[in-house]
Amino acid sequence: MTETAAFQDAWPKPSATPVVEAYHTAIRKLAADRLAADGRRWEEVVHDPAFQPTAADYETIEADLLASGYRFEMSAIVSLQEAPDKYKAVAERVDSGLQEEDEQGRSIVGTGDNVFRAQDVEGTARFVSTVERVMELLTEGVPEDTIAVIDDSGGTLTAPILGDFKAVICMGGTVRSHLGILTREYQVPCLMAAEIDGLNEGDRILVEYAKPAADAYADADTAAAQRARVIKVS
C-alpha cells in the first residue's frame, strides 16, 4: 500500500524514471493531504477545481526538485535556450583517441544502421544541430558535398534543407524514425543510430551506404554486424 496517496494500491511499484517518480509521489501526497484536510468524500471533491493542484503547486514541485541539485535532460533546443538553469549542459562530442582502422589504415570514426542500400558516398562532414545552423544553410545554401551529421532523428529540424544534403549521418533514432522515412523518400543516403568517435566538423569522410539496409527485426549480433562504417579519409 502506498502511504502518500489518497487511495490504496495492492500492487505498487516505483516509477522507472526519476523525475516521474519524484513528481507523481509529490502530487499523490499533495492530493492525500488536501483530501484529509477537506473533510468531504473523494467523490465530492475529485472534480472540484478548488481541490485540484494549481500551476503554482506544480511550480513548487519542480522548484523542490531543482533545489536538490537535479538538472533535467533536454531534448529540444528551445528548452535549453529558455531555461538554461534547469537543464544539463549539452554533452561534448566523443573523441576517445582509440579509433579502430579499416583495411587501408584509415580511422573508423563511426558506425550506423543503413536506411536503404545506395552507393558509398565521400563528402565533407558538417554538423547540423541548431536552428541557427539550419537557418544559415537555408539562407546561404547547402555546400554541394555535405554529409550532414545530425543529432536529431526527427523530420522537422532539417525539413527545409534535407533534400540538399549529399548524405546524412544521424546520431539517434532508428531506421524507422521520421528522419529515416524522409531520407528514403528523398533518396538521400542515411545512417541512423550512428555512434561517432573522433569525427569533427570539416572532416573528409567515406560512408558505407552500399551496405544492406538494416533489418529492424534483426537480433543484436546480426544488427551489429550489418552496421555501416564512417571512415575518415583525410
Binding site: T2, A6, F7, D9, W11, P12, K13, S15, A16, T17, P18, V19, V20, Y23, I27, R28, K29, R41, E43, V46, H47, P49, Q52, P53, Y58, E62, F72, E73, M74, S75, A76, V78, S79, E82, A83, K86, Y87, T130, V131, D152, S153, G154, G155, T156, L157, A159, P160, L162, G163, G172, G173, R176, S177, H178, G180, I181, L182, E185, Y186, Q187
Partner: protein, 499 residues
C-alpha cells in the same frame, strides 16, 4: 449507488479498452521513439492527453448528437480525410492516457468520470466498426495488419484510374519528388507527428501487383492556424495517391496507417499512380489532372514547388516560436485528431479544437523535456507506472510483465461502489498561438466556419440511401443490380479548382 450502466456495457468497454491498450503498446514499441530538436515532442504529447481527457467527452457527445459515430464512419470510408485509421484508432488511446496520468498522480480513481469514459469508448468503438466495415474488424491489427477499408467497387475504380509509369519517365520522376517534399511538409505542418499521412490497403491488382491507398491530409489553409497564409498557395487540403507496386508485398499496414513492405518500398517498383482529392463535402474521391501522365506530372511538379516554398516559410515561422507556442501547436495537433468528426457532422467550432483547456494548461510547469519523455516512455512503452501494475501472477500479452497500459473500469460500479459521472462541461481555455483568420480550404472552395458547417449539415452524398448496398457480400449476389451502381464513382474527369 450502482452506476447507470449494464454489465454487458462494462464488459464491452473493458474489452475494447484492453484491445486499445495492446494495439498502442505494439505500435509505440515497434514504430519508433518520436523526438525532435525543434519541438518538445514528449511534453506536448503528454499535455495533449490531458486536453483530450477534459474536452473530448463533451465534444464527442456534441458530434454524436448531430451525426451518429457510425454514420460518420460510413461517410469517411468514401473519402480520404482526417477521419481515418490512425486518427480514429487514437480515440481511446489519447483519452485514456489522460485518465491514466491523473490516476497515477492520485488525482483520479478508476471509478471516476464513468459516464465520460463509457461514452468516449462507445463512440470510438462505433466509428471504428463502421470505418472498418469492409474488412469487418475494428483495427488493422485484428486483420493481421491490413487496413482494407475500401469495397471492391472502390478498389476497382482506383485500379482502373491509375496511370502507368516506368522508372525515369516524367510522371515517375515527378511523383517521387512530390512524395518526398509532401512528406517533409506534412511532418513540419504537424509539428513532427505523422498524422498528415495515412495508408489503407493493401489490395491485390492485376499482374500480381499490390496497391496502397495513401492519404496526405491538411495540406492547405485548414484548421491549423499556423497554416494561414503560408499554405494559401496549396490548392487542395487533402490528397489521396494510389500506388500500384510490382514485386512488393505490403506485409504491414498497421493501426497507425503506416506500412512496411517486403522487399522494402522501392520507387523502382512503382508501376502506376493516381491522385485524388476529397473531404467531408465531396462526393467520394475526385480525380486530379488524371487525363494523361504528362498533365499529372506537371501538376505534381507545381504542387511540389509550392510545398517547398511553404516548407521554408513555415519552418522560419516555427523556428521563431517560443517553447510554449511549440508545445501548444503540437498538443493541438494531437488532441485535434478527432476534429474532422465535427466537420463531417457540421458542428465544427475553432475554439472547441484550438483552445487548450485551462485544466490541461495548469500542468505546464511540470513539462520539462525529461519529465515529458519519462512520463510518455513509462506510460506507453515501459508500462511501469504504479497504477499500471497488476498482481505478481499477471502476464501482459507482449511483455509477460505485470504492467497493462490502461486500467479497466471496475465492475463494483454495478453494485455498491462509489463513482463519479463526468469531468463536467468544457471549461475556459486559450492559446499563445496566433488566432486563425483565413478561410477553410474544402472541395467546395474556401469557406468560412459557418459556410463549412452549413454545407456539411446539408450535404447528402450521392447513393447515401444505398450505403447498405455498399457491401461486397451484397454485390457478390447482385452483380447487375442498379442499387449497387448508385454508389459508383464518377469516371475520371477534369478536377474542379479548390479555391
Amino acid at each position: 449507488m450502482p452506476a447507470r450502466h449494464t454489465y454487458p456495457e462494462l464488459l464491452n468497454a473493458n474489452a475494447y479498452l484492453r484491445k486499445a491498450s495492446e494495439s498502442f503498446f505494439f505500435q509505440c514499441t515497434t514504430r519508433t521513439v518520436q523526438e525532435s530538436k525543434l519541438f518538445p515532442v514528449n511534453p506536448y504529447i503528454a499535455l495533449s492527453y490531458y486536453n483530450a481527457w477534459y474536452r473530448w467527452p463533451e465534444l464527442l457527445r456534441k458530434i454524436d448528437a448531430a451525426m451518429p459515430a457510425e454514420e460518420i464512419g460510413d461517410r469517411a470510408r468514401q473519402v480520404g480525410s482526417y477521419v481515418n485509421t490512425i486518427t480514429m484508432g487514437l480515440i481511446p488511446q489519447f483519452y485514456l492516457g489522460g485518465r491514466q496520468f491523473l490516476m497515477d498522480m492520485g488525482l483520479l480513481r478508476a471509478t471516476d468520470a464513468i459516464d465520460d469514459v463509457l461514452d468516449v469508448l462507445d463512440f470510438g468503438r462505433r466509428v471504428n466498426l463502421s470505418l472498418h466495415r469492409s474488412h469487418a474488424h475494428i483495427t488493422p491489427s485484428d486483420a493481421g495488419q491490413r487496413a482494407q477499408i475500401h469495397t471492391a467497387r472502390q478498389t476497382a475504380h482506383f485500379e482502373e484510374g491509375a496511370i502507368g509509369v516506368t522508372p525515369g519517365d516524367k510522371l515517375h520522376t515527378a511523383f517521387g519528388r512530390f512524395m518526398a517534399t509532401a512528406s517533409a511538409y506534412g511532418f513540419l505542418s504537424h509539428c513532427e507527428c505523422r498524422l498528415s499521412f495515412n495508408n489503407h490497403g493493401p489490395y491485390k491488382t492485376r499482374g500480381g501487383h499490390e496497391m496502397l491507398v495513401r492519404d496526405m491530409l491538411d495540406l492547405a489553409e485548414c484548421d491549423y492556424p499556423w497554416m494561414d497564409g503560408i499554405a494559401a498557395p496549396i490548392e487542395h487540403n487533402n490528397l489521396t495517391v494510389t500506388v500500384v507496386m510490382k514485386d512488393t508485398h505490403f506485409n504491414i499496414v498497421d493501426d497507425w496507417g503506416s506500412f512496411e513492405a517486403t522487399p522494402s518500398y522501392d520507387a523502382a517498383n512503382l508501376v502506376a499512380v493516381g491522385v485524388y482529392t476529397s473531404d467531408h463535402l465531396s462526393d467520394g474521391y475526385i480525380p486530379l489532372h488524371m487525363d494523361n501522365a504528362s498533365e499529372l506530372a506537371d501538376y505534381l511538379d507545381e504542387v511540389r514547388e509550392r510545398m517547398t516554398e511553404a516548407t521554408s516559410g513555415m519552418w522560419k515561422m516555427m523556428a521563431g516560436w517560443n517553447r510554449t507556442q511549440m508545445i501548444e501547436a503540437g498538443l493541438l495537433v494531437y488532441s485535434g485528431v478527432t476534429k474532422d468528426l465535427a466537420h463531417f457532422a457540421g458542428v465544427y467550432e475553432q475554439s472547441d479544437w484550438f483552445d487548450i483547456d485551462d485544466k490541461a494548461r495548469r500542468f505546464y510547469p511540470l513539462m520539462n523535456d525529461e519529465y515529458g519523455g519519462g512520463a510518455i516512455a513509462e506510460l506507453v512503452g515501459l508500462l511501469s507506472l504504479t497504477t499500471q501494475q497488476n498482481s505478481e501472477h499477471h502476464m501482459e500479452k507482449f511483455t509477460g510483465a505485470r504492467g497493462e497500459m490502461w486500467t479497466p473500469i471496475p465492475y463494483s460500479l454495478l453494485t455498491d461502489d462509489e463513482w463519479t459521472s463526468t469531468v463536467g462541461p468544457i471549461g475556459p481555455g486559450g492559446t499563445a498561438l496566433p488566432a486563425k483568420t483565413a478561410l477553410y480550404t474544402t472541395t467546395r472552395g474556401k469557406l468560412t466556419q459557418e459556410e463549412n458547417n452549413r454545407l456539411a449539415r446539408e450535404f447528402r452524398p450521392t447513393g447515401w440511401d444505398q450505403r447498405h448496398y455498399d457491401d461486397d457480400t451484397w454485390v457478390k449476389s447482385h452483380p447487375h443490380d442498379p442499387r449497387g451502381r448508385a454508389l459508383d464513382p464518377a469516371p475520371v474527369a477534369a478536377a474542379p479548382t479548390g479555391a
